[in-house]
Amino acid sequence: MLLKAINKEDLAVFVDNLIKGYDEVVGPVPKEFKYVFSKIGSSAELALDYDSTLLPPKKHLLPQREVLFSFDKADGIEIEPNLDATKRVIFGIHSCDLASIWLMDQIMAEGNADAHYLTRRKNTFIIGIDCGKPCSENSFCKSMGTLKPEGGYDLFLTDLGDLYAVEVGTNAGEELLDNGSFYPASYTIKDRFFETWRGKLHNFPDRIKFDTEKLPALLTESYNDLLWDVLEERCFDCGACTTVCPTCYCFDVFDVANLDLTSGERARKWDSCQVQNFAEMAGGNNMRGKRSDRLRHRLFRKGKYFKEKYGKFACVGCGRCGRSCLAKIDVMEIFNRLK
Amino acid sequence: MKNLEIKVENVTRLEGHGSIRVKVKDGQVVESAFDIIESPRFFEVMLQGRKYSDSAPMTSRICGICAVSHTTVSLEATEDAFGIVPTEQTMLLRKLIFHGEMIQSHVLHVYFLVAPDLLGVGSVIPLASTHLDVVRMALRLKKLGNDICAVVGGRHVHPISMAVNGFTKVPAKAELSALRERMVAARADLAATVELLKTLPLPDFTRETEYLSLKGDKEYPFIEGDLVSSDGYTFKRQDYLDHIKETVVPTCTAKHVKAKRPSYMVGALARFNNNHELLHPAAKAVAKALGLTAPCHNPFFISVAQLVETVHCNEDGIAIIDQLLARDIKMEPNTVVTKAGRGVGVVEAPRGILFHDYTYDADGYMQKANCIIPTGQNIANIDHDMNGLIPVLLNADKGEEEISKTLQILVRAYDPCISCAVHAIEVEFVK
C-alpha cells in the first residue's frame, strides 16, 4: 500500500487546484440540516464531516435521467450518442458508497458493457474519506463488510487529527497528488493510521446479529415466509428505498420527441422494482403483482443474488433505505428478523 | 340610428366569461351592462372551518391569473388577525414576487389581449407570422415575470413557498443574481415595447370618475399602505367597509362594488393617477413618452399605465434584488401563534385593489371570510363608461358592428379578471 499524507491546512489548496484543473469537482455540501453531493466552486463549500448524503454519489455516474442518444429524422436518420466524458473528481466518498461503486462497475462492465456509465466512470476520479463513526442509527456497514474500503478509490483520506493519511489506490490517484502538498507518510504516521483504523472498527457496533455469510442461505429459507406478507401491510410501493440505494440501478428507457416530431431523444431514468407496474406486461401479467413479492425481490437482490454472483452483497449497509422509508421498512431490521 | 341592441356572449380574450348587453331606444341608452356569467364558486363557504394555513393556498385558487396577489393578501389578512408583523426579508421577497406577477400579468394583457385589438387581428397567433420578433419579445418578458415568481415562490400559478409569517423556502443568491441579469437585459425589450405602443392608436374617450388605490408613502404601493381616493379622502385598511359597499345584481355572478359615487375605478390607471410621483424615474419617462399624464381620464390608457408599471416593477425589482444580495438571505422561523379575531389584508392586484377579510377562532380556524375583488369594483365603472361611450359612437355615426367592437375593446382595456370576481361571501344587500 502506498501511503501519503497531507496537512489539514493544505487540503483546501489541493481541492481548489482540482477545481481549476478538472472540469468538475463534486463533494458533500450541506443542504439545510442534511447533506448532498453537489458540484462545488470552492473548497470552502465542502462539509467533509458530513454524516451521510440524501442520495449516494451514484447520481454522478448514473444520473437520475440521462439522454442515451438524440436523433433527427428530417434528412435521413441521424443518431448521435450522448457520452459524457467530463473530467470529474468526486471528493469525499465514504467507504460504503465506495463499495457500491465497485459493484456498479462490475454490473455495468459485464456482458454488453454500458458505454454511458463506463465513459463517465473512466473520466471520474474518486477520492474517498473515512467516516470515523457510524453515520446513523440505520447504518450497518461493518456487518456488510464495507467499513474498510477494498479499492474502488483513487485516493482515500483518513483523518489523523492534524493531517490526513492518504492511501493511493491507482495510478490515476498518484497523478492527482501533483495538485497538492502531499508527502510520504513517515513510520509514525503509518502507526497512527493503523491505530486509527483499529480504533474505528471498535466504534462500529455489529448491527446484524449473525454472521452475514449466512445471509443468502437464510433468505433462501425465508422465501415463502410470512415475514413478507407482514411487510405487505405497510409498504407504499413508492420506491423511495431503491431511489436512495447506492447499489440500485434499474432504469426505464423511453423516447421523447421534440415538438417538430422529427427529432428527439431516447433517454433512461431511474426505475424501481418496488413500484406496481415494474414487471407488468401487455395483458396485465405481472410476475411480482403482490407487494410482498416485490419487497422480497429487493431484499433477495441485496442479500443473496449478487453475493452469489459477485461475491459481494448488493447492500453496503449505508442505511439510506431505512431512513427514507416512511413505512419504516428497514433492510437491517429485516435481515435481523431472518434469524 | 335610433334603435340598437347588442349582445356579446363570452367576450373573448378575457380571463373568464363575461358578456355585454346594450339597448338603445330612440337614440337613448336604456341599458348598458357588462355581466359576468362565470359559475359561482362559493369560496367563502369553503373557507369556513378551515385552518389558517389553508387560507392562502385555497384563495390562491380563486384565480390562477393573480394567484400571487390572492396569496399575498390572504397572508396579510391572517397576519393582521394574529397580530403578526413579518420580517423585512419577508416583505422584500413578497414585493419581489409581486413585481413578478405584475410584469407577467401586464405583459400578458398588453401583448396578448390588447395589442391584437390595436393591430386589428383576433389574437396573438397571426402576429407570430407578421410580427414574429414582437411575439418573441412578449414571450421573453412574460417568462421573466413568471420566472421571478418561480424563484421566489416556487411557481407563478399557485405559489408554494409563501406562508404565514414568512417563506418555507428562500431563494439562493445565485438564483437572484441570475434573475437580476435577465431583468437588466429586459430593459431593451421594454424600451422596444414603448416604441411599439407609441405606434398603436388608442381610442380617444374621457370620462372623469373616482380613482381608488393604495396610498404610497415612500414607495409606489402594491402591498402596503392605507387607501386613497382621487376625491381627496383616505381611509385605513380595516375600515374599508365604511367606505365601499358590495351589492348583488341578479344577472351577474360577480358582486358589484360602490364607494361614494355610483362607480369608481381601480387598477393601473387609478394607481398611476394617485401615486405617479412615486414611480421609478425610468417609468416616469415612459409615461411621458407615451403621453400619459396624471390625472388621466381615458380608460383606454389603462394599458399605457400597465406598461409604465411594468417598467417600474422591473427597475424596483432590480433594486430589491440588490438589497437582498447585500444581506444574508436565510431561512427565518415562521412561527405562528393563533388568536381569535378579525384581520384585513389589502393589496394592489394587477387589476386593482383586492381585499381579504377574515375572522378566526382562537385555534386559527376560519369563521368568516370575505373577499372583494378588483373586477367587482370595476364592473360598475365599465357600465358607466359604456353608457358614456355609446352616445359618442352614435354621434360619430358608427355602425352596430363597430360599436360592439369598440365596447369589447373597452371591456378588455379594464383587463377584467372574471375568475376572481366570482367567489364572494357574505353580502350586504342594498335595496
Binding site: 442534511k34 407496474n277 | 380571463e15 383576433g122 414571450l139 353580502v427
Partner: protein, 252 residues
C-alpha cells in the same frame, strides 16, 4: 393537416389555461403543429370544428354540463386539464356543505333564487368519457406538452402512476416529515417533480392519488405524526373531496 385544438374553461380559476400561455419556450413550436381554433382566453375566433379539446374546470351548473356534452360530441379526443377537471379538485369541498345555505350565505336570502342552479361538484369523467388526464393544481405544463406530443405521434403519454416519494427522493428534497410536517406524497401520483416538498411544504395530493393507493398505511403514519382525523380529512378534501365521496362512504 394540422389537428385542430380547442381550449375551454368551465368552473375553474383558469390557472390551467394560463399554464398553456405560460409555456413561453414551447408556444410557437406548438402552434407549428396544431391549429388553435377556439381559446377564449387568448383569441377571438370560436370555431366548432375542433379535433382535440382541452378543458379546465369542473361542471358545476346545468349549463356547464350541457357545454361539456356538446364538446364531447364534437371532439375526437377530450383531455381534462387540472385537478378540478380530473378529480373535482378544490371545489368539491363545497359538496360537504349544505348547498341552499351556501348560496344564501354568499348572495343573501333575497337574491339566492337567482343563483341556486349550481350542481354538486363532479369531475368531467362523471358526465363524459375523458381520454387523457392532466393532473395537478395547476396542471404541469410540461406534461401538457407531453400529452400533445404523444397525441401527435399516436402514442400513450408517459405519465407516472407511482407515489410522489419516489420522485421527491430522486430530487434530493428533505422529506418534510423530517421537518416535523406531514405529507400526502406516499399515496399521491408523481409527475410534478415534488415541487411542494422542494419548496418546504408537504404534498397536498393535488395530482390525485395513484391508481392503487395504500390509504390505510398512510393514515397510520399521519396519525403517528400527530395529525387528528379531522385535520387529515380536511387536508385530504382540499383536492380529493370527490374521491372521498366515491371511495370512502364511511368517513374516516
Amino acid at each position: 393537416m394540422k389537428p385542430k385544438v380547442a381550449v375551454f374553461a368551465l368552473t375553474s380559476c383558469e390557472g390551467c389555461s394560463l399554464q398553456i400561455l405560460n409555456l413561453e419556450d414551447h408556444l410557437l413550436d406548438l402552434l407549428g403543429q396544431v391549429e388553435l381554433v377556439n381559446f377564449r382566453e387568448a383569441m377571438d375566433e370560436k370555431r366548432e370544428d375542433y379535433d382535440i379539446a382541452f378543458i379546465d374546470g369542473c361542471a358545476t351548473t346545468p349549463h356547464d354540463v350541457e357545454e361539456l356534452k356538446k364538446i364531447r360530441a364534437q371532439a375526437k379526443v377530450l383531455i381534462a386539464m387540472g385537478a378540478c377537471a380530473v378529480q373535482g379538485g378544490l371545489y368539491a369541498m363545497r359538496n360537504f356543505h349544505d348547498h341552499a345555505k351556501t348560496v344564501e350565505t354568499v348572495y343573501g336570502k333575497d337574491m339566492a333564487a337567482h343563483f341556486s342552479h349550481s350542481l354538486p361538484v363532479r369531475p368531467l369523467s362523471h358526465y363524459v368519457k375523458v381520454d387523457h388526464n392532466l393532473y395537478g393544481c395547476p396542471m404541469d405544463k410540461f406534461e401538457f406538452v407531453e400529452v400533445v406530443r404523444s397525441l401527435l405521434l399516436g402514442k400513450a403519454p408517459n405519465i407516472p402512476d407511482y407515489p410522489l416519494c419516489n420522485e421527491c427522493r430522486a430530487a434530493e428534497n428533505i422529506c418534510v416529515f423530517d421537518r416535523g410536517m406531514t405529507c400526502f406524497g406516499p399515496i399521491t401520483r408523481a409527475g410534478c417533480g415534488a415541487i411542494c416538498p422542494a419548496n418546504g411544504k408537504g404534498c397536498e395530493a393535488c395530482r390525485g392519488l395513484v391508481s392503487k393507493p395504500f390509504i390505510d398505511s398512510h393514515k397510520k403514519i399521519m396519525k403517528q405524526h400527530g395529525l387528528s382525523v379531522e385535520d387529515l380529512l380536511a387536508q385530504f378534501r382540499e383536492y380529493n373531496g370527490y374521491w372521498e365521496e366515491t371511495h370512502e362512504k364511511s368517513g374516516n
